[in-house]
């Protein structure tokens, strides 16, 4: 099986599921009695198990399976949630995460988890002795009918075969959990079957079976002359088949209750819509016998439906409906905000529709179906330890948790309303971005041409194009935006672990997790944040006794806050801990030779705080496991600065500290101010600019060999770009007026003196390549409208 093409998707989805597990586990810890949460975790774990088994990651599947057993026992109230159990489950999730990371890094996902597995087993067995068989011993009616759905053609085949003395069976085959070559087993089963009769249908479809897109179980409709017993025996001969159930298909079955069969995805959609206040209906529409243009009527019905909601499924399929491959009747699963009555009336308005029946789909239905299957499985099986976990793929939680699930899920703040999303490979977005960048350069060129030519219509067209491109740019940039939540969501678990390790009580508050950042920035920002949070927890928050002694609440608080401001996103980590001991920091910095004694006198509090970001600095007296492992906060600073960001620290001793990170929204297209010095054009990022101003020579003052100006009551040093960039000038400029761009870095200002301002422009950031690196005060280059290269000034390097 070709797995590579699915691998990426598998990794992404596994991460999502594991994340969901961790989040719900944390919730469960707070409300240990809420079984609905257990149901959620179970669901994620179950899907993960199925996926990893399909992809052939046995260890992953195995551990998930063990964890699932424990969860299932909790869900069925056989075990009560205790912190110890949760610890083990957390540990399993950690292991699973490691495995997934390993797979993502090209490994095989193998990992020694025997101790965790043993613990899980102990929990599973220790608390309850006999695993109860869930199903009752009642003889079931042949509820198998709901497993396979037959269209009219298949029904005819079955009826005819039966008339001709064949037996029609519905066979359910379950493979062993540890079955390695599922597709091969399926093939063998089919081969055995096809010797004796005809396979009419299978669920999942044959293609899916061949691709191993199923859990352990599949269903086959089969006509044969052989008896049920013989068939069962023959299939059982295939190795690794755990269980075979053969049931007779009753030809009289007019499957009304099970008109539509939903796969797990559709079930999820329906369940989610229901949570979001949509109604899920199963609509049966019958057209008049004499209806001439059936496809047209179907089209009209669908049009009406799609105005008010979403069609999830239809039977026959839409293709068949369009080809008029149906009798008079068709069924549609539909989610909407409208009431059943309204929908019925609306559809009845379509002419030649004879009858419309709108029935509500209840989530219960799924579980009933599931139970029905379980019953069949349980009764027909010879082995007593039939586990409910073997029910077909992706079951919705059993009725009990399902009911309680509604309120729990309702407070999920980020539940998107009817959002349709697709996953796109980031590479494609990068290509799109590159192409767009080319366009931006050409737009610049067009703009300069149109200004030169000054042709009315041309100007108009260029202007309109620019506007459209502006919109396009916004869209492309937002497409790359990812909520910081994707980074933040790993922190609750980390804090939990840290507080246990360090014996501290810590409450983590996350604010603004929906704030969006460019994907590239998101990918980079994770590690620095982990570092800073560890730092806050380890060095910031005091241990409970110390806190009480200081008159603070026992529980420390760490606030993780993200918000937009201008072209930047700010992420702040605030703690109410000990704050920075400036004397200690200074003493250490001096002893390590980071600053001199003399320098230290003139340093502001803030500057002293920021010394902890200097390389080779660690103030913790005792080096703990949590932070201070040799990699200092300087790494954090470097990473953030390499992203074009900034970090600053505010701290009050015994009150707490705030680490504030400023990050650019995007990295590739920026607004700049173009300035000219002699004949050279430089670009200054607009985000650094406070304002521009024209000053007289007489306003320039001298302070310690540094030319300064008085700018709105502040003394601002002047930086003559001409000198910094050593611009060759044929004759010295004698001008009474100077053009000054006031830029800032944090709270510090500087005035960049240039010859003249050209104007504002959107430019595409380009690198100078690998040959020219580390050029002072130049952060990159861009291509101007006239095709020439202009350099981008790095204001941060110019302000000391």
């Amino acid at each position: 099986m070709e797995v590579n093409q699915y691998l990426e998707m598998f990794i992404e989805e596994s991460k999502d599921h594991l994340q969901a597990c961790s989040e719900h586990l944390l919730e469960l810890e707070k409300n240990p009695d809420d079984l609905a949460i257990v149901g959620e975790i179970f669901r994620s774990a179950h899907t993960l198990k199925g996926m990893s088994a399909t992809m052939g990651f046995e260890d992953l599947a195995d551990l998930t399976h063990k964890m699932e057993n424990v969860l299932d026992a909790i869900r069925n109230e056989k075990i009560h949630v205790t912190p110890e159990i949760l610890d083990v489950v957390f540990e399993s999730v950690d292991h699973l995460e490691e495995m997934v990371m390993d797979i993502a890094n090209g490994g095989d996902g193998k990992r020694d988890v025997s101790s965790t597995v043993a613990q899980l087993k102990r929990i599973e067995l220790g608390e309850y002795a006999i695993p109860e068989v869930v199903a009752t011993t009642e003889t079931p009616v042949i509820a198998v009918a709901s497993v396979l759905e037959y269209d009219s053609f298949e029904q005819t085949v079955i009826t005819q075969s039966v008339e001709q003395g064949f037996n029609a069976f519905e066979i359910s085959v379950r493979l062993r959990e540890d079955c390695l070559l599922k597709a091969a087993r399926v093939f063998m089963v089919f081969e055995a079957l096809e010797k004796d009769g005809d396979v009419i249908k299978s669920n999942p479809s044959v293609e899916k079976l061949e691709d191993e897109q199923f859990d352990q179980q599949f269903y086959v409709a089969f006509v044969t002359k052989e008896s049920a017993e013989d068939i069962q025996k023959k299939i059982m001969k295939v190795s690794e088949v755990e269980e075979v159930v053969v049931a007779t298909i009753e030809t009289t079955v007019t499957a009304v209750a099970s008109v539509l069969e939903y796969d797990s995805f559709e079930e999820t959609v329906i369940a989610q819509s229901a949570e979001q206040g949509f109604n899920a209906f199963e609509i049966s529409v019958r057209l008049r016998e004499d209806c001439l243009l059936k496809a047209a009527r179907v089209f009209m019905v669908f049009e009406i439906l799609e105005k008010d909601g979403d069609v999830i499924k239809s039977n026959p399929s839409v293709d068949k409906l369009e080809d008029e491959q149906f009798d008079q009747q068709f069924y549609v699963a539909f989610v909407t905000k409208e009431s059943a009555e309204d929908m019925q009336k609306k559809i009845m308005k379509v002419s030649e529709v004879e009858e419309v029946i709108v029935a509500t789909i209840e989530e219960k239905q799924f579980s009933e179906k599931e139970q029905a299957i379980q019953e069949v499985t349980a009764t027909a099986t010879i082995e007593p330890e039939a586990k409910p976990a073997t029910a077909p793929e992706n079951t919705t939680p059993a009725p009990k948790p399902a009911k309680a699930a509604a309120p729990a899920k309702a407070d999920k703040s980020h539940a998107p309303v009817g959002n349709k999303t697709i996953r796109v490979n980031i590479e494609r977005l990068d290509i799109l971005m590159n192409l767009f960048e080319e366009l931006v350069i050409d737009r610049g060129r067009l703009q300069s041409i149109s200004t030169e030519v000054n042709h009315g219509e041309l100007n108009e067209t260029v202007e309109r194009m620019s506007r459209v491109m502006g919109d396009l740019q916004t869209i492309i940039l937002t497409m790359r935006m990812v909520p910081v939540e994707t980074v933040f969501n790993r922190f609750p678990k980390m804090i939990r672990q840290l507080s246990r390790d360090l014996n501290k009580k810590i409450n983590l508050e996350i604010i603004g997790a929906e704030t969006e950042l460019d994907r590239t920035v998101i990918d980079e920002i994770g590690d620095p944040l982990v570092h800073l949070i560890r730092n806050s927890v380890d060095h910031g928050i005091e241990n409970p006794t110390a806190r009480l002694a200081k008159g603070k609440p026992e529980e420390g608080t760490v606030v993780l806050r993200a918000y937009h401001s201008g072209n930047y996103v700010f992420i702040e980590i605030e703690d109410d801990g000990a704050g920075i001991n400036r004397e200690k920091v200074l003493a250490k910095a001096i002893s390590k030779g980071i600053v001199t004694q003399e320098q230290s006198y003139s340093m502001s509090d803030k500057q002293i705080n920021e010394l902890i970001l200097a390389s080779g600095f660690s103030t913790a007296d005792v080096i703990s496991d949590v932070s201070g492992r040799g990699v200092g906060l300087d790494v954090v600073k470097t990473t953030i600065e390499s992203l074009g960001g900034n970090i600053s620290i505010e701290s009050t001793q015994d009150v707490g500290s705030i680490f504030s990170i400023q990050l650019p929204l995007t990295l590739s297209i920026i607004s700049v101010m173009l300035v000219e010095i002699e004949k050279e054009i430089y670009a200054i990022p607009l985000s650094s600019i406070i304002e521009t101003s024209i000053i007289r020579s007489s306003e320039i003052m001298n302070a310690h060999n540094q030319k300064v100006i008085d700018f709105r009551g502040k003394v601002v040093p002047l930086v003559f770009l001409e000198e910094i960039f050593e611009v060759p000038r044929k004759e010295p400029q004698v001008d009474e007026f100077h053009s000054v761009v006031i830029v800032r870095k944090g709270e510090k200002l500087a005035g960049l003196v240039v010859d003249s301002f050209i104007g504002q422009q959107e430019i595409v950031l380009k690198s100078l390549g690998n040959y020219l690196t580390n050029i002072f005060a130049i952060s990159g280059a861009t291509i101007l409208g006239n095709g020439k290269v202009a350099l981008i000034v790095d204001c941060n390097a110019l302000i000391k």
Binding site: L768, N770, Y771, L772, V789
Partner: protein, 148 residues
């Protein structure tokens, strides 16, 4: 040199610098461009003339005359920029002119003689004599090295 390699030859681009002819293997040459606007990049080595816009890619330019400490001349009509790619770098060399592509038999390449004019010997990987022309083969890694 054994007989086995006698048949082999390498294709080179030949260019002029001062009064000598130099050669660079074609495999390292991305293209030859006419002189275009070069944006000066401040605070770089003297021989780095700046950067150009090479079809959307910002490419650094090195003046080989200055790199080899040859007398500086004004850029003329024949002046060309040879775009070199080496490992992950793309760099343009300013040369007096470039107008020849030659096949040099591998066996005509000799280690450089003791004295080859003013060019620092560390930049030379060998010399080739073809007919009456003397071609100096450049050691690209070394030419680009100090800035790496």
């Amino acid at each position: 040199m054994t007989n086995a390699v006698e048949q082999e030859s390498i294709k080179v681009i030949v260019f002029q610098l001062a009064d000598k002819e130099y050669a660079i293997p074609v495999s390292h040459v991305q293209g030859i461009e006419k002189l275009m606007h070069i944006t000066r990049v401040p605070k770089t080595a003297k021989f780095v003339k700046g950067v150009i816009n090479l079809r959307g890619v910002v490419t650094p330019i090195v003046d080989l005359r200055e790199r080899f400490e040859l007398p500086i001349s004004e850029h003329e009509e024949t002046t060309r920029i040879i775009i070199i790619s080496l490992e992950d770098m793309e760099v343009g060399f300013v040369v007096d002119s470039a107008n020849d592509v030659l096949d040099i038999p591998a066996n005509s390449i000799e280690p450089q003689p003791e004295v080859v004019g003013s060019l620092g010997e560390e930049f030379i990987s060998g010399v080739a004599k073809i007919d009456k022309r003397l071609l100096i083969l450049l050691h690209l890694e070394k030419v680009l090295n100090p800035l790496k």
